[in-house]
Symmetry: C2
Subunit: 200 residues, 2 copies
């Protein structure tokens, strides 16, 4: 039996941003625990033959997405500034997020990275930005950034991305309750409902 809902996210993903900024408060209201699971969409998109976000490959879909995100941020009361680079490379942030996952500060760090990318238009692939974010939550930036170069840390993220693939994830965010996948920010409510009905 599962005791949580897994929240699989990618720092470059706009809809992951929407979920990251509200998942903890929604879950708290419902008495559910969230397990944050960072992964990379790049290798998964590559398997589908894409070298960038489908929102760039299909411009009509892209235009819709940006309008939709703006509208949903207004609805949820979430700050938004359209990033000047999309999607941003999330490798460094995702590696640190994996370390944070094991140490219990993943939600706090990840929200700050999402905010930098989607509310402040900051370059989250730049170590300087990540250093400032890590510092702002009271952690040791230079030490953590150095750790991301270690093979065992690289493997944390690599294995988690592989796990995402093996479990049938093809986009972000994806919520998982045991073996049930719920794809997309829209489906957080359904994931919680499923958890309460079928698991608890």
């Amino acid at each position: 039996m599962s005791d949580c809902i897994e929240f699989w996210f990618e720092f470059g993903s706009t809809y992951s941003y929407l979920s990251a900024m509200r998942v903890e408060s929604v879950a708290k209201d419902e008495g559910v625990t969230i397990k944050w699971k960072p992964f990379l969409l790049g290798p998964i998109f590559k398997d589908q033959g894409w070298d960038t976000s489908p929102f760039n490959i299909y411009p009509i879909k892209g235009r819709y997405m940006w309008r939709d995100i703006e509208r949903l941020c207004e609805k949820y009361g979430i700050a938004f500034k359209k990033p000047s680079v999309f999607p941003r490379n999330s490798l460094l942030a995702a590696r640190i997020s994996c370390i944070a996952q094991d140490e219990g500060w993943c939600a706090e760090f990840s929200r700050a990275v999402f905010f930098a990318n989607f509310a402040e238009d900051r370059e989250i692939s730049d170590p300087e930005t990540i250093n400032e974010i890590v510092d702002s939550i009271g952690r040791d930036g230079p030490k953590l950034i150095a750790q991301t170069k270690l093979p065992e840390i690289k493997n944390l993220l690599r294995n988690q991305t592989e796990e995402a693939m093996n479990r049938g994830i093809f986009g972000a965010p994806t919520f998982i309750v045991e073996s049930e996948l719920f794809w997309g920010n829209d489906r957080l409510g359904d994931a919680i409902e499923w958890y309460k009905l079928k698991v608890n």
Copy 2:
């Protein structure tokens, strides 16, 4: 000012089925009028370089979709039997649906076609199936099927599909409130909310 929500749908689309079977009752509860707008996804997918549904092109996404549809049908209390052909050719049904649109029986006819495709696994591209459906709602099957060969009827659907493209539709179902698009069955609630807040 708009006096309705436009419901753009495609008979071959699984998520259109979910919306078609519940849109009228949801709208009635909210005091909103729905305008049914059949169109073809084929030409729009072709523009994106696809010769079939993306759920067939990307099997991982396809597997998720079938599980999701099953789960959502259970949630909504909608009958479901996985069609043995997917997506089915919707040309004939969509042409008759365009005639029905002008004559005020589009919702009734379209729901019956969706039901045949997704609850009874019947071949909706077969004139015999369509004939039976039309007959079951008290309309003249042979006459309507003959009409679908007239240039002016072919143009009704062609123009509506072109309108879909021009308005930025890239998938089905899409709800439109004035110029605002809401893509996907999940977004019916948002479309209604938008209508009530911004239009009325």
